[in-house]
């Protein structure tokens, strides 16, 4: 059977207007919700009720919105780390492991303890942040080094090292620092808690129960920093040149091996900082499952943000909302389905940026 019309894809010869990438991404997200709604209807749900419940669970109150930002915080940092690596065409999907290693290194500051726990709070927290960065960076160094020197595929190594990090963590929280045999360490001293808005509830009652902590500021600073690196620095130029054509970069005299290692370390450092922010700002101890798959969602966040450091922030908030709303709803897999559909559609929507799509009537084609 032949349809009366067909789609014709013509490669674009001119650059697309500036608003186009954003518009197609938003369009793709809307279509993803529509498709998910159809699936919901097919399995007997009422999509309108589900979505309105979804929306109120996520944005219904300041408390809920603050929860979203808390979930978005690690996603921002990991998403930024992925964006830097992807920009150079290094597919770091080890955000999860680097996150755990950052959390572990930061926790060691108070668990060992590396610094007397009666030190000032800012000093403890600064050291923890630096340790988190170090842990993630070292854990990024391993696949970076293997890739640079032995050309080992970083997708495999980063993916596998995720599991190593989780079990490494488990060893310490079960074996060494277990709190009365539970798979978690004792709660950290208050000196190792990141300040949160709820701390101000005495002076400003409005903030009572608001969980938003200082980690979100780390995320915002990181976004600015990454933006400066990618858009304005010499290093950012080298990264974009290697990412687009490594042979040209080599020809331009850029040391590719060094850059692979450095970028993997930067990418890991950001995930490590996210791990530190999570243990000090949210759970206040090292334990199992501190990550709600942040390492993997970070990959998606980076792609959806088209590797733009500032776009990472709203995308991370959208994903935070999906996580928060997903807690309130059964089956809880729903929000994963929506996440997946969004990713699929946003990536495929690229076709509109590269091609002009025209509908041609079949008989016109015949006549031509």
């Amino acid at each position: 059977m032949r349809l009366p019309f067909k789609l014709k894809f013509e490669p674009r010869t001119k650059d697309v207007p500036k608003w186009m990438p954003l518009a197609t991404s938003i369009g793709a997200i809307v279509v993803a919700f529509i498709i998910s709604g159809i699936v919901l209807a097919l399995i007997g749900g009422n999509p309108f009720r589900v979505y309105s419940f979804f929306f109120s669970a996520a944005f219904g109150s300041w408390g809920a919105f603050s929860d979203i930002l808390v979930k978005a915080t690690p996603l921002i940092m990991i998403g930024l780390g992925c964006a830097v690596a992807f920009k150079m065409n290094i597919l770091n999907i080890g955000g999860e492991g680097q996150f755990y290693m950052g959390a572990f290194f930061a926790s060691m500051v108070v668990l060992v303890p590396i610094i007397p726990l009666d030190s000032p709070r800012w000093m403890v927290l600064t050291l923890m942040a630096l340790m988190g960065i170090l842990g993630g960076a070292l854990y990024g160094f391993i696949p970076g080094f293997l890739k640079a020197i032995f050309n080992v595929n970083e997708i495999i190594t980063t993916l596998m090292l995720n599991y190593v990090a989780v079990y490494w963590n488990n060893y310490w929280i079960f074996g060494k620092y277990s709190d009365a045999g539970f798979q978690m360490t004792p709660t950290f001293e208050k000196v190792a808690w990141l300040p949160k808005l709820a701390d101000l509830a005495k002076e400003y009652p409005f903030f009572s129960g608001i969980t938003l902590h200082l980690g979100v500021v780390f995320g915002l600073i990181a976004a600015i920093l990454i933006w400066l690196i990618l858009k304005h620095s010499r290093w950012g130029y080298e990264i974009s040149l290697i990412g687009d054509n490594p042979k040209a970069a080599n020809y331009a005299g850029i040391n590719i091996k060094k850059n692979i290692i450095l970028v993997m370390m930067l990418s890991g450092a950001l995930a490590g900082l996210a791990g530190m922010s999570e243990v000090t700002g949210v759970v206040h101890r090292l334990q199992e499952r501190i990550s709600a798959n942040y390492g993997f969602s970070g990959v998606i966040v980076a792609w959806l943000a088209k590797l733009n450091p500032f776009a990472v922030i709203p995308v991370a908030i959208l994903f935070g909302a999906l996580i928060v709303a997903g807690r309130e709803i059964q089956p809880s897999g729903l929000s994963f389905m929506i996440q997946g559909t969004i990713l699929f559609l946003v990536i495929s929507s690229d076709v509109f940026l590269r091609y002009k799509v025209r509908i041609v009537r079949q008989h016109q084609e015949e006549a031509a």
């Binding site: 010869t13 650059d15 010499r234 974009s240 040149l241 054509n245 042979k247 020809y251 331009a252 850029i254």
Partner: protein, 511 residues
């Protein structure tokens, strides 16, 4: 031809062919006729629409309008299969052969024979017979990798003949051949037409066209500027005018220039190719200020590896010194610091980053130097001005400097690379095939730029497969064969025949 050219006398008769691609009219009402038993040359610059027209004839594209008649019958090809069935065979510029299979196996590849038993000896005999008829000598049981480029081309021709083609399209067949091999190919073409085949011969070179072609069609910007004219008596200037649409001066003005100090010294250089086999074997030469040193040779004799070893892109043994500083087997950045400019063979794969803007491509070598960079930052305002300056002074055709490099045509991309490399005031320029695949106008501009740099005192190493170009530009010429320089001579004393024999390895100087 004594036959009256009525419809049925044409092997191919294409009328009013129109092909439109986004933004361009690739073929604008083109007429093309091929008589039985003639060689019809098709000329035109890159992008003039030659390939498009031939792709229509070989069934790859369907024209928007126009009619095609093959041997007097109207046809409408839906796929290349239909074209082959109608007796049209195309020999591509890049061979499509499997190196580890024999000649016979390659010819049979894709055919429905032998049916089950691989009794290849029968087919070897069949192919030998075909060879005798058309004078195309190749050993049927030889493996492709054992054959020279010229022999491989014969296999490609045999492939089309075995499939029953009597209309052959040869797409720039001489581009890959040495002078002697070109003569042999022309002989083959004459034999083929004497046996009743018809040939469409795509070429850039007038002397070849005049040597074999009966008629000539020239395309420019999708339109035919000459339809089936007689090439005899046409001058090079007239032909260039048909192709480019304006006068082209062929003889570039090469001024006298006394060579100065030695800039590049290469001593006993060895390098391996990507498969780990020796590709450069003990090469030594030197180039002085204000001197162009040309290296001739058939592609694949170690030129790429030699260039990469000299520019620091490939590890090597031996010595490479720029102004006395050892740069061999170091890093590309060290060579760049020593004043090296490199115009690479592969414009898109090595010379530019396709998805970055023209601006970002023009600062590839200077991004860490004042004024483009101050400290850790890149001053994109200064970079933009730098790019605009280069775009204007080298006449790079692009909407803006923010346009991505991949949207530039080959000639403009090459201008961009040259502009970038030369803006660094280099002392040594290594240029590999700087004019390959460019149209006549662009070639002229690029040769002019190289000569200007010579005048300014740069030492230039020029690797080219175009002997005419080498002879015209170089002060001294060397021939590379199988990784060795087999002869060095002054360009004024160079003898084309002798160079040709050196290129094929039949002659070494001093033997």
């Amino acid at each position: 031809m004594t036959q009256i050219p009525n419809g049925s006398n044409y092997a191919v008769d294409m009328r009013d062919i129109v092909i439109r691609f986004p933004g361009v009219l690739a073929n604008d009402h083109v007429n093309f006729t091929l008589k039985k038993g003639e060689i019809h040359a098709l000329l035109g610059e890159n992008g003039a629409g030659k390939s498009t027209l031939m792709n229509v004839l070989s069934g790859m594209y369907q024209p928007e309008s126009g009619t095609i008649m093959v041997k007097g019958k109207p046809v409408s090809f839906r796929s290349p299969k239909d074209a082959i069935a109608a007796g049209i065979g195309m020999v591509h510029q890049h061979f499509m052969l499997v190196p580890t299979l024999t000649v016979t196996e390659n010819i049979l590849l894709g055919l429905n024979e032998p049916k089950f038993f691989m009794n290849l000896s029968i087919y070897d005999k069949k192919i030998e017979k075909l060879q005798e008829t058309f004078g195309l000598k190749v050993e049927p049981t030889a493996k492709i990798w054992q054959l020279s480029v010229g022999e491989q081309q014969r296999v490609e021709i045999l492939k089309t003949l075995y499939r029953g083609a009597d209309i052959l399209i040869l797409d720039e067949p001489t581009a890959v051949l040495a002078p002697q091999e070109i003569d042999e190919l022309m002989e083959t073409m004459r034999t083929l037409v004497s046996q009743g085949k018809s040939i469409i011969f795509i070429s850039h070179k007038l002397n070849e066209v005049q040597a074999v072609a009966d008629r000539l069609t020239v395309l420019r910007k999708g339109k035919a500027t000459a339809e089936g004219i007689d090439p005899k008596g046409l001058t090079r200037t007239q032909l260039a005018e048909l192709m480019v649409g304006r006068k082209v001066i062929f003889q570039v003005d090469k001024l006298e220039k006394e060579p100065g100090e030695v800039v590049l010294e290469v001593e006993n250089l060895f390098a391996e190719n990507n498969r780990g086999l020796p590709a450069v074997r003990g090469v030594s030469f030197e180039i002085r200020e204000g001197e162009i040193f040309g290296i001739a040779g058939i592609a694949g004799n170690g030129q790429s590896e030699l260039v990469e070893a000299v520019t620091g892109l490939r590890s090597s043994e031996g010595s490479v010194r720029i102004n006395g500083t050892e740069v061999g087997n170091c890093s590309p950045s060290k060579s760049i610091r020593c004043g090296l400019a490199h115009i690479p063979e592969d414009r898109t794969g090595v010379g530019t980053a396709p998805n970055l803007s023209i601006t970002k491509n023009t600062i590839m070598k200077s991004y860490s130097q004042d004024p483009i960079s101050n400290g850790w930052r890149i001053n994109y305002v200064a970079a933009h001005d730098h790019a605009v300056g280069l775009k204007d002074s080298y006449d790079i055709q692009a909407p803006t400097v923010d346009t991505m490099a991949r949207k530039l045509s080959g000639g403009n991309l090459q201008k961009l690379i040259l502009a970038r490399e030369i803006s660094g005031a280099p002392q040594l320029i290594v240029a590999m095939q700087p004019t390959r695949g460019l149209d006549v106008g662009a070639i002229e501009g690029i040769q002019q730029i190289l000569l200007e740099q010579r005048q300014k005192g740069a030492a230039i190493m020029l690797i080219s497969e175009e002997l005419d170009e080498l002879l015209m530009l170089s002060d001294r010429i060397a021939v590379i064969f199988d990784g060795e320089l087999v002869g060095q001579m002054d360009a004024s004393e160079a003898d084309l025949n002798q160079i040709g024999m050196m290129m094929t390895g039949t002659l070494r100087s001093g033997e």
